[in-house]
């Protein structure tokens, strides 16, 4: 136990250097200046295929959300072996500052950041504020050649399960057996059960509504017009207004866990609250048997 504490303290101190340099967010200007730094490794996590290939931030490695950040067989995050192999091939070491960005408002990049945190690389990971959209809007350079790096020998830690909520954890809060906040970051219409899924997305849940005791703060309220996160003060005020001040543990969820990663990042990395991401999210909770929901609109699946 003592050994683990010392190791953890050492890890925080040693890699604190990388984090102190960047913080949880880096600006496009910072990244532009540090692109040639061999200790900076950029990963693009875009969910739309062809986006990375047609032009990515120079030197960025493609991290495929569908295959490299999840385990599609077990509906799980990527296995330690696979993720470690990917990072080794990308030349990531204990000294590397890892910058993530992606399409779709950085949702999937934030998922990526969460996975890096789960595997103990949290203090090396940072997010490009504003993601791909801002980089493109500013007309900053893109490249279409895949990068190549000398392989590293990095070894990942075991998963940090304290960053992940499972169905049972959520149920304990829903049934008021555990005192914590649940933040539902979906749209108000999804939260209230008016719709099952956002426009253009298949309805994958047989029930509409939300987890009992959940508070609705749609993810988009945490960002500015240009897609960058609001300032820490603004975020603190935003969540405080909803009754979330970091005094209790927090669980965030959405539909499949990617938009909630975006809010997980704001609450845990920018505000420093204790937050777990529930990646099973509504597609698991809403479909689970014997689990209570709140359905304000009363919408019934295929009901007339």
């Amino acid at each position: 136990m003592l050994k683990a504490v010392i190791a953890a303290a050492f890890a925080v101190c040693s890699s604190g250097a990388a984090l102190a340099q960047t913080g949880p967010l880096v600006s496009a200007d910072w990244l532009l200046e540090n692109l040639d730094d061999p200790n900076v490794r950029v990963f693009e996590v875009s969910v739309d295929r062809g986006v990375y290939e047609r032009g990515h931030i120079p030197g960025a490695v493609d991290l495929n959300w569908h295959t490299e950040l999840v385990d599609p067989i077990n509906r799980d995050i990527a296995s330690r072996e696979d993720f470690e192999a990917k990072l080794r091939a990308s030349g990531v070491t204990d000294e590397t500052t890892i910058v993530l960005y992606g399409d779709n408002n950085n949702w999937f990049a934030a998922w990526g950041a969460w996975v890096f945190h789960v595997y103990g690389l949290g203090d090396q990971v940072t997010l490009l504020d504003g993601g791909r959209r801002l980089w493109e809007a500013r007309g900053l350079p893109l490249d279409s050649a895949p990068p190549a790096f000398a392989a590293s020998t990095i070894t990942l830690q075991d998963r940090d399960l304290s960053l992940r909520a499972r169905l049972g954890d959520v149920l304990e809060v829903a049934e008021s057996r555990v005192d914590a906040h649940i933040v539902d970051i979906r749209s108000a219409d999804e939260f209230n059960g008016v719709i099952f899924a956002p426009e253009g997305v298949r309805e994958l849940s047989v029930r509409a509504g939300h987890v009992p005791n959940a508070i609705n703060v749609p993810w988009g309220r945490a960002v500015n017009e240009d897609g960058t996160y609001k300032s820490a003060d603004e975020l603190r005020a935003l969540y405080a207004e909803a009754g979330i001040d970091g005094s209790k543990p927090i669980i965030v969820y959405c539909r499949i866990g990617e938009r909630s990663s975006h809010t997980w990042y704001a609450l845990s990395q920018i505000l420093g609250y204790e937050v777990r991401n529930y990646d099973g999210s509504w597609t698991e909770y809403g479909n689970s048997v014997g689990v209570p929901i709140v359905n304000v609109a009363g919408t019934v699946w295929t009901g007339r």
């Binding site: 062809g50 290939e53 047609r54 809007a137 279409s144 895949p146």
Partner: protein
Amino acid sequence: MTTTETIAEARVGHPFPARALASAAVLAALLAGAFVLYAPSAEARALSFSLLIGTLFGVVLQRSRFCFFCNFRDFYEKREPRGVLAILVALAVGVALYHVVFITWMPVPIEGRLPPTAHVGPVSPVLALAALVFGLGMAVSGSCLSAHLYRLGEGSPTAPFALLGAGIGFVAGFLTWNPLFLAVTARSPIVWLPHAIGYSGTLVLSLAVIAILAVVVLALSRSGASPASAEPLSLRVVARRVFVERWPAAAGGAAVGVIAMLAYFRVAPLGVTAELGSLARTAANGAGILPETLYGLDTLRGCATVIKETLLSNNGLFVLGLVGGSFAAALLAGQFKPKWPTGSQAVRGLAGGALMGWGAMTGLGCTVGVLLSGIHAGALAGWVFLAFATAGAALGISLMRRLVPGY
């Protein structure tokens, strides 16, 4: 069309200054559209680029009379090889340039992965049937869909009916999609040649097959003398050759191959039916006649149709540019000749269009989206479409000769 005919055509109709002015106005409008669409975001840049590359494609199709069916028919009936050679050049140039992109994006053709958004579709008897029916539709209506679009810019009386018919054919395709998917397509392989024989193998094999086809076409041809004359080059002669006469097969074909690569590199593979199909799907869905789900459709590569949620789409602007570019080129060349349609043209357009629409929906694209963009991408489906659409066209010509006097 011979040179003398082209020149004679150019001399009739409106005087040259008026045509040039009208043509410049159309081009200026398209460029202004691209300018207005441009905004500092990836989506806006793609929309703007789509309109521009569509315009260029339209100009090239019109100037080189790049029409899959007419070129085939010229060869099939008159043994005139130039048009078919233009298609083969387009295939060869495109397949080579696509490989430059592939090797950049995906240095190794990893098993289980396809190059992003390339048109690599399933190979099945359904695809063969779709291509055959598409070929029949070409023969009935007189053109493939991309040629109907560029001919719209020439004032073709058949084209509007063919496009309307294609919309109807698409709806028929949606209605037969689910049973065909469950019975056949769901279990059919998606064959990307580089998975089996690598990039080099695919390139060599594709170019070898194209070369053999070219040799066969030339061996069978009974072409007249080349229209290239010994007249000295002057600004006037060059302007006439560029803006009035039909471009040489190699130039037109190479331009199509280059445009195919540019379009793939920047936005998406060439295709002309996605927007048409999406309009049909949106209308039919609105009318409530479509099945609730079209199985697997969203997971297959090709000219995908979607229920439209936005007015502007990349493919819509590409097609708009195609028609506009062809219109501008035809105006300048004196080849814009709108005619009032006859009953026969309307019927043939509608019937042929419907056959092509069904074929393009069921086969996930047409002579551009599957044949051209598929062969460029190393998809076996492209070659299957080529074989069966050609067979369908030959069959269609024989049938039409019997059914329609003077065909």
